[in-house]
Amino acid sequence: MRKLSTRRRHPLAGIVVLLLALGVVGGVYSAVRFQPASAETASANDVKAGRNLFLVGCASCHGKNASGIETKRGGNYGPSLIGVGAAAVDFQVGTGRMPMAQSAPQAPAKDPEYTAEETRQLAAYIASLAPGPAIPDDEYTDISGKTVEQIREGGEFFRTNCTACHNSVGAGGALPGGKYAPKLDGVSAKHIAEAMITGPQQMPVFSDDVITPEDKSNIIAYIKQVQDQPNYGGMAGGGLGPVVDGLFTWIIGIGGLVIAAVWIGAHGARVKKK
């Protein structure tokens, strides 16, 4: 994943991705879709189906063996996916970031191109190449029984590690050169956990050895709780803070009160004679 974004700016990337999308939608979709669904665990069939999907939809950037494609200048056209693990595939494909629709500083989240089943098969194929982070289980994502104490601690981790980029209510923030930290609103617990484990695109990795799975689930619990909180004070302006407050001050506040002043100062209707 690491050098994905540098290759994304390649002049041909847009065309390639477009072809890729056409290919997916047109040909392969039906061919793969009607294969019998397999059990939950990754079977040899899954790996095989995943490889077929990969060859059609991903290999043009990531290489036929998922070992990446180097550009003539020595950069990476699509990074090697060997060892990135099933978690990375599930995050990138499951949030629609991969395949990319066009060349951009950063792959945006969009509606996924692959079904959940196809995503699982792709993940199984990539995971079969070399060991890597697996799709996180309930240990990370089960936030149902969290105590107040655990949520508070998740909040501390969140403010220390996450808010600098993602904002204190998860509204997202800017990074250099048109890149950004996406908003966390509506992102599933599983995808948040996967992002922390794998460090997609510019996001750093937060490995389990440093931020334990329990810490991660606490962070997720805090995010979910903060986003479930009512906006006690009223319309919140997207959690963007004082800039939006300033806009409201001028447009609604000053705008409204100046209209009032115009009304007070208006001469009003007059008639000709008494």
């Binding site: 690491r2 990795v205 440093v210 009512p230 009223g234």
Partner: protein, 349 residues
């Protein structure tokens, strides 16, 4: 400078026709309109009174936790009733003035803002009488000593402020020193190099912040902890060793591509941890200074001038990351004595 206002006299092309004839309002000539306005205005006042009663009902009846449209029901109800009542009262009063109160414009004459020559002369005379009777002009010794004491009055009022704070002592060592373990912020757990993957970021602190004395109290807490945090907070990042271009003398400051930098921006001191793992750039969210962590923390964009100070790392006997020494550069925002303090640090190392 009194010269150039010789505008040609009597050149006004149009003569002032004087105030136009008064025009009446509908409410002045039509009794029905007048009544209607009266009813309208008193209606507003009556509804305002009702809303204020509603305010009290809301205050008593609504539970603090209740929500409405995803907002606090209490906040909305109290605000809407109070605001609505006040708005209606205001609009009613203004409407009263506009529709029903006297409508004839009045003319008031202006007078020059300054006093007349006569007033000035009289006042000057009074002033002089007063001064002469005081002998202020005739007794220079009294006058000068008075001014002296008045001036001296400034001394206690300034010196009294001396204890607002201690004198600045310039750069003091941070909590980092040889052998201090680098621990994960919040959790306080020590870190092994193997815990970190390439592309990883750890927000870290010196281990002493999480140590407790024999009574179980933290060694550092409260204000002191905040002050130390604002200097000692660090980030630990891991890159591929071949991506790093260390300056001379810094070749051994990392452990297998793991580097440690101050988290405090050298611009105005915001904590920075917006690290792009692919470009190795670190962005400050406050003023967008950007530092290249693969290149010794040098500034690549934004208002910060000094590179981010780097903390030399090593591994202790138990395999945990430790500091080799304190920072060799001054951390945090610049200050006037920085150049001197930095020189002292350079001399020491």
């Amino acid at each position: 400078m009194s010269d150039e206002l010789d505008r040609v006299p009597d050149t006004e092309p149009v003569r002032d026709p004087g105030l136009p004839e008064h025009q009446y309002r509908p409410t002045d000539v039509d009794a029905a309109q007048d009544k209607r306005a009266e009813r309208q205005i008193s209606g507003m006042f009556a509804v305002a009174a009702l809303l204020l009663v509603g305010f009290c009902v809301g205050y008593i009846m609504i539970d603090k936790d209740q929500t409405f449209l995803g907002w606090s029901a209490m906040n909305f109800t109290l605000g809407a009733t109070l605001g609505g009542a006040l708005l209606l009262m205001g609009v009613g009063i203004i409407q009263w003035a506009k529709k029903l109160m006297g409508d004839h414009e009045m003319v008031e004459l202006r007078h020059p803002a300054g006093s007349t020559a006569e007033d000035r002369a009289d006042t000057l005379k009074d002033l002089n009488d007063g001064i002469n009777e005081s002998g202020f002009g005739r007794r220079p010794m009294i006058r000068r000593t008075l001014f002296l004491s008045m001036g001296a009055l400034a001394l206690p009022s300034v010196i009294l402020l001396r204890d607002m704070g201690p004198l600045p002592y310039g750069h003091k060592n941070t909590l980092w020193k040889k052998g201090m373990r680098v621990v994960n912020d919040v959790a306080g757990t020590p870190i092994k190099p193997s815990d970190l993957q390439v592309g990883q970021l750890v927000n870290a602190e010196p281990a002493i912040m999480y140590e407790k004395d024999k009574d179980g109290h933290p060694v550092i807490e409260g204000t002191e902890l905040l002050q130390e945090k604002s200097k000692a907070a660090v980030i630990v990042v891991r890159m591929r060793p071949e991506d790093i271009t260390p300056d001379k003398g810094r070749e051994n400051w990392g452990v297998d591509g793991i580097l440690c930098y101050s988290k405090i921006c050298t611009h105005v001191g915001c904590p920075i941890s917006l690290w792009e793992q692919q470009t190795h750039h670190l962005l400050c969210p406050c003023h967008q200074s950007t530092f290249d962590l693969a290149d010794n923390g040098k500034v690549v964009f934004g208002p910060a001038h000094r590179p981010l100070p780097q903390l030399p790392l090593a591994v202790d006997a138990d395999g945990y990351l430790i500091a080799v020494s304190d920072f060799t550069e001054v951390v945090g925002p610049s200050y006037p004595e920085l150049a001197r303090d930095q020189k002292r640090l350079d001399d020491k190392s």
